[in-house]
Point group: C2
Chain length 235, copies 2
């Protein structure tokens, strides 16, 4: 935790918060905070800054916060991601939040197992928990938007064109395609497939909605690694 994130409910005044949960534990056990110490904080959805520990005991901590810094900028990106398996999904949420992806669309795909859609990790609170871990790691205070699209064709045909408009549309796909471009400044819509990849029908349909295939070499990477590698290369 490189940033302590503050919820609306933590505020007891414009510049005061009370913390009682895992953040209190973390302050005590990892940071070994004492009264008078200063910590980096951010208000979820708002500014970042510093907090001074006013009071600290086993039950709660009271902090005085000064929020005067903009969070880091997000990438100019919408990430369209075939739903990963549940264990991977949780790490992907952390990774996209840490890397500064502002919007992720989770879509179905032929090679996504149907059971993956039943995972409790797709509940809004579970998603938010992982995103917050990513923001705490990277020092960011703004949650990415996560959109769930259980049906591939209606999403790609009806809603994806409005997302890709005005952006460079790319789909990561192994094969004889151009290499993924590097160091872009322009907005991008990037689609990443499931384990086993998109099927040809899906590549066709994504292409009609403005996403052209690019490849990242012959090595097959896990979804989380592929997401990180593609983003690090694109921006």
């Amino acid at each position: 935790m490189n940033l302590l994130l503050l919820e609306e409910a933590d505020f007891i005044a414009a510049d005061r918060v009370i913390l009682r949960d895992r953040r209190l534990t973390h302050m005590q056990e990892v940071h070994r905070c004492e009264v008078g110490d200063s910590m980096r904080v951010g208000r979820i959805g708002g500014l970042m800054g510093a907090a001074e520990v006013l009071r600290l005991d086993a039950a709660e901590a009271e902090l005085r916060v000064t929020l005067d810094q903009q969070p880091p900028s997000k990438l100019p990106l919408t990430l369209v991601l075939a739903l990963p398996r549940p264990k991977m999904l949780r790490r992907v949420f952390q990774t996209v939040a840490a890397m500064g992806v502002p919007r992720v669309v989770l879509v179905n795909s032929y090679r996504v197992e149907k059971s993956f859609w039943q995972t409790p990790f797709l509940e809004p609170e579970a998603i938010r928990e992982q995103l917050i871990l990513g923001l705490e790691q990277a020092r960011d205070s703004v949650l990415p938007e996560i959109v769930i699209e259980k049906r591939f064709k209606p999403f790609v045909e009806d809603r994806l064109p409005a997302i890709t408009e005005g952006t460079l549309g790319l789909v990561g796909h192994p094969g004889n395609y151009p290499p993924c471009p590097r160091g872009l400044d322009e907005p991008v819509t990037l689609a990443i497939g499931p384990e086993g990849g998109w099927i040809p029908y899906e590549i066709d349909l994504l292409g009609k909605s403005g996403l052209q295939p690019v490849q990242l070499g012959e090595r097959i990477l896990r979804v989380e690694t592929a997401v990180t590698a593609l983003l690090a290369r694109l921006f």
Copy 2:
């Protein structure tokens, strides 16, 4: 598992192997192999190719293998990595093997907790197990070399200069440094610090041995994510 890796001990003839362990289970439960099916295989440290299932029962599988393909090329890189915490270490081994890093030097650093050096995940067999998972994922048959250097100063002063000679020496470090370069063709020696980063003394000493600091933006990434992001950007 996108590639079935074969050990020397599996071979009963130049073109025949018998499998009994988790690879047999994987063939049956994930790939649902039957006699006559073909699978991608690689000989550890050797060529890759295809195998035909000759015989398959609950106890063992016999395959006829044809090894005629070179494994994918490795990155022109030595990665010097401050020892990560054990849980992260296992994933880092998988990641570096999957991304094609040929050599990793695990070093001590001021911010590496002493207890991390006691982990059973540093036993040669445990390292090899994780590396093989990464190779199976990425379809590569050549194990990276893992070097363990428990003392920072003797390594950096006495052995690092010979490693960096003739390479571009870089150390990932947040701060007012040049951005990490992109799309290199030349050989690189890259050092990545522990959680919390290198201390100034370490940056100085690494600099004297030829590694100059570069930064990857203001977001603080987990070690595994930072490794992937730096490699994807460099090459």
